[in-house]
Amino acid sequence: MNRRVRVALLVVAAALALVPLIADRFWVQFAAKVMISCIFAASLDLLVGYGGMVSLAHAAFYGLAAYLLAGLSNGAGIAALPASLPLCLLGVGIVALGIGWLTLRTSGVYFVMVTLAFTEMLFHLFNEAPGLGGSDGLYISSRPIAQRTTVYVAIWASLVGAYLLLERVARGPFGRVLVGIRINEARMRTLGFPTRRYKLTAFVIGALVAGLAGYLDATLYGFVNPAQLGWRQSGLVLVTVLLGGKGTLYGPMLGAALITLVEHFAAGATEYWGTLIGAIAIATVLLLPAGLAGVLQGTRG
């Protein structure tokens, strides 16, 4: 990553930190939403951009964390952040380990279809299980953080922390092995790397960061619904990763910010905003194979 990107990221992070001081409630909430989308998109980039795993199960972990928080808060009265965050992530980690272990028995298009199927299964379970409010979802009776500015600060800190973690994982020795697996798994296996274990580790790390994003979403808005873990959500975050430019971490965050903006303003203007998102997805594939990051770096892929 070049110096200009690093400086730009620092400037954006600093600007985001100042938002609550200068902006009104709406924009603070909006900036918080964008930051959560950025965490979510960057976490998928670890899987797709570095590991070559086109997972459609990613939203499942986002929604699962939110449901776990609702369960802990409403059912057991455990809402305080130091208790609820580790418990939610533990739950997400266990489920991700199970789903990852099963789905990573396959690869390529099988993996795409199988992750989609498991997402759909979780969606049905949460949609139909008694006591979870069906498609309306659940309100969270007491949130981990009540004060609005504190929530914002927590989300900001999570974004910075998640980015630094993902960058360390993706650009360190582990990430290099992961990229090697994406390019030629057989060769990496021959070199003695337990490739499936590497992929599973990346899958779980990505799921945990996605779970963090879902936890923050539930903290910010105070409710969860099954649409958050549906396959459309998984598809949408895939669009953000590709639009931004996979395998760059900052690109997907740029894509997430853009899609969140489009979603918000287009949904207010027309009921056919899905076509706009669909057109963006199609145009990305046909015109911008390296995404916006590719344009910024002058390599169009």
């Binding site: 390529g108 379970l125 459309r232 076509t275 057109a279 199609i282 594939v285 194979p289």
Partner: protein, 295 residues
Amino acid sequence: MLDGEMTLSLFALQLLNGVEYGLLLFLVASGLTLIFGVLGVLNFAHGSFYMLGAYLAYWIAARSGSLFVAMLIGVPMMLLVGWVVERLAISRLYSRDHLSHVLLTYGLVLVLNDLQRFLFGSDVHGVPTPRPFSFGIALGEAQTWSAYRAFTSTICLAIALAIRQVLLGTRFGMRVRAGATDSEMVEALGIDVRRLLSILFAAGTALAAFAGMLAAPLTTVYPGMGEGVLIVSFVVVVIGGIGSVKGAFVGALLVGIADTFGKVLLPGVSSAIVYAVMAAVLLWRPRGFFGQAAR
């Protein structure tokens, strides 16, 4: 089903319903698996064609008074839709990775969903069972099986046999099978592969839409109906082995029967049964029943 006891006639009824659902799924899944096998494209928009077929059936049947007229008009329309989509969008994917396929066809799903809302609205519609088949066939003393379901099963079975006949017994089918194995070689032999791919995609589209038309009186017509079928068809293809039509047939029947019995025996978690079956197959054979080695 009192006291958890299942009478023979009820069992037969559920089995027939499961087979009928499975055969309907086969129409969707066979196109999906062939399009992947030959074109190499994973098509998320396949379920949207099923949905469009169902909406066309509702719309034309409501105006002409006959579902059969709707099928006669609707199937050629969907052949055309498939041909246009292949030429404009899918054909640009042939040299790309499956991530591009997922993204572009996901974009198509969103666009086609909006098209459906724009053309037909967001309401749920019922389609009356065609008059010649609106009676029940007696099974034992207490159960009847809908004659329309019997009709649907027969048609689907006939189509399955026709697909088999075309693939194994005609020059076109031979080229399709050759294309699935090595499309470069087929091209080198002077066969117009591009045209072959267009025809195949259009046929798959029309098959999915026809399945939607057949299902319309059984399931009602509603927004998002295509996505449910798409995902279950993926499960079918994963179980059967991607690219294998035989696998799609076996997988579709297995899923149809498992789902139908799941709804009766385990009503609380019925929707999870299908995925449990898939997980079991994955544990046992990660490439499905008839899957080939990596391509």
